[in-house]
Symmetry: C2
Subunit: 337 residues, 2 copies
DNA sequence: ACACGCGGTGATAACGTTTGCCGCCAATTC
DNA sequence: GAATTGGCGGCAAACGTTATCACCGCGTGT
């Protein structure tokens, strides 16, 4: 009932440890008859290879560390799920670290994972600047890919949604619906999603007139901020509120309804990410869906094909195309009402 | 730049590997002067102990496997967060497995974790019956505690919220608000949360009259079911809809509003769990808050104090008290309106 | 016939730690 | 002054695997 080791199987099948290892790992050709005997003995004894010993010898743990800012951020669970599945499909296990949105904790967790000899790291950095050092030093030791958020240019490979394209989809949709006075509610700070989305708004809002790009309020990525922002912009009567993510949009929606505004008649609202909450809001939120499964698959793939501690020469940046999901908050089904 | 090992530190500090190991691990008294030299050398070379080697030798990986049905279930992220923090505080890393609500996957993941020599397992079982075998066989090899859901009596230690007490709080609240015709919308199936909550409703609804315990509809734990259930029960005009979890309640709330019902005036709605969504619903949902942090702390503690592969003698079952969170869906602040 | 190659196998040395055991030297005890 | 501690430190054996090397026998090419 204790631990069955290679030795035990070897003894039971009358051959050497080396041979047993070889037949079980299929690492080198071995006699058909011997193979059968060995496999049978292994089966009979219920042999399970000790992954720790295997890892020590082969210098590969079959483990990747997943480091993220806050698992409670509703965008992440779906991503984590897809990553877990993608990695498990390759036989790799996932070590999880929740950083509590703190760069110091993040650095500590990355270090701990390195000590545990993870084969690779998947990092969703907490911050653009504050995370850079930890990421940069980790990148020298294992394959690492950045997810969802960047960390400065040339630091590591990264895969994320094309925020600019997503925002462009939103603006295009608004223009097509005849909206004229959009207002942007975004997030301050240096996180790449925040920066890219507000830059894209500024770049694309010109079609609504020269003043449009300047109509923006910056706070953080929270429901509370969405509510507060509406209080500040509502007096100037926008006919569209473009939010930098779904949480902000949900807050905006709530406050607008409290103020008696007609959504989507008088003013429409859009989000970004398409978290589960978006479809549940009332009215359901028009938003930009991130291709979560593809993001995960791409990240996992990149991780595999990356030289350990590769030089700074060839950083890849993958940007995946998002998709506009039109729901009631911009008038879908309004005609039928 | 490569791997700095104990040997290197030993060479650099002019003493043996054994001594270095001892000063770094503090496992045995060692000369003050030697200790200083060694520590200095270790620091200078940037020595980091190889956890894999350590694990192989000491037969402890400092790793626990966390196995859950679906990370995308909005109740879990908060729990995962607390567990990760609690375990990390003890220096243990967390391997994560998402089972996609499938008992077969669950068994596979548990097996994989065992092969990886996890020190312990934390399992939120997918199903009461289907998960039993995998859990029972794992329990023989490592400390294991069941979380949130049970898995049959005597299989393993478990910690969960006191569902009966939570439901009692709800019924008490409804009675105090003068409600007379409650209706229960729950989940069929054998998951312990489903069973216990509906049993508690049946047991406690007697105060609303002899018919009350029988006024129930059973489906699953989803928003869609919440919507559908309302369509079935609304014709008989309940003045309270008691839901088995927040997702159901959110669906019910949506449908009731679509049907033009006045919530909370005409009919009140309650949920269970207090997921983030609950506070965001409109009207905000009265619900039963699970003590997530305490659940996690208790589970982590139990895990530590459990003999490896302990006999079936002494299974502990911890039930933590929930808390009623009263919000607008049962009329909080209504008087002020 | 001889050398050569090659499929199949066994010993054995790693991988980087922890730890049991033994020996050394100084300090204490009779 | 010799014997007995007891604190410190080194040697070497594990932990369970994989990888390297050598070996053995047999078929093949010249």
């Amino acid at each position: 009932m204790a631990e069955v080791t290679l030795r035990d199987v070897a003894r039971a099948s009358g051959c050497s440890v080396a041979t047993v290892s070889r037949v079980l790992a299929g690492t080198r050709p071995v006699g058909a008859e011997t193979a059968r005997t060995v496999r049978e003995a292994a089966e009979r004894l219920g042999y399970r290879p000790n992954q720790v010993a295997r890892a020590l010898r082969s210098r590969s743990t079959g483990t990747v560390g997943l480091v993220l800012p806050q698992i409670t951020n509703p965008f992440f669970p779906a991503l984590v799920r897809e990553l877990e599945h993608a990695l498990h499909a390759e036989g790799r296990a996932v070590l999880l670290a929740d950083c509590d949105d703190d760069p110091v904790t993040e650095a500590a967790r990355i270090g701990a994972f390195l000590d545990r000899q993870v084969d690779a790291l998947l990092v969703i950095p907490v911050e653009e600047r504050a995370s850079r050092n930890a990421v940069a030093s980790a990148v020298a030791r294992v394959p690492l890919v950045l997810l969802d958020r960047g960390c400065g240019p040339g630091v590591a490979d990264s895969v994320a949604v094309d925020n600019a394209a997503g925002m462009a989809l939103v603006l295009e949709h608004l223009a097509a619906m005849g909206r004229r006075r959009p207002w942007f509610v975004g997030a301050a700070g240096t996180a790449s999603a925040a920066v890219e989305r507000r830059a894209a708004y500024e770049a694309g809002a010109g079609v609504f007139g020269p003043e449009a790009p300047r109509r923006r309020e910056l706070g953080d990525f929270s429901v509370e901020w969405g509510r507060a922002a509406v209080d500040r912009i509502w007096p100037s009567r926008p006919d569209a509120v473009v939010c930098a993510n779904d949480l902000i949009a949900v807050g905006a929606l709530q406050r607008l309804r409290q103020l008696g505004a007609d959504v989507p008649g008088e003013v429409v609202v859009t989000g970004f990410d398409d978290i589960p909450l978006a479809g549940l809001a009332d009215p359901a939120l028009t938003t930009v869906r991130q291709p979560v499964a593809e993001l995960a698959a791409e990240a996992a793939w990149l991780l595999g094909r990356q030289p350990t501690g590769g030089g700074p020469g060839s950083r890849r940046t993958v940007r995946l195309a998002p998709e506009l999901v039109v729901r009631a908050s911009t008038g879908a089904g309004v005609a039928a009402k």
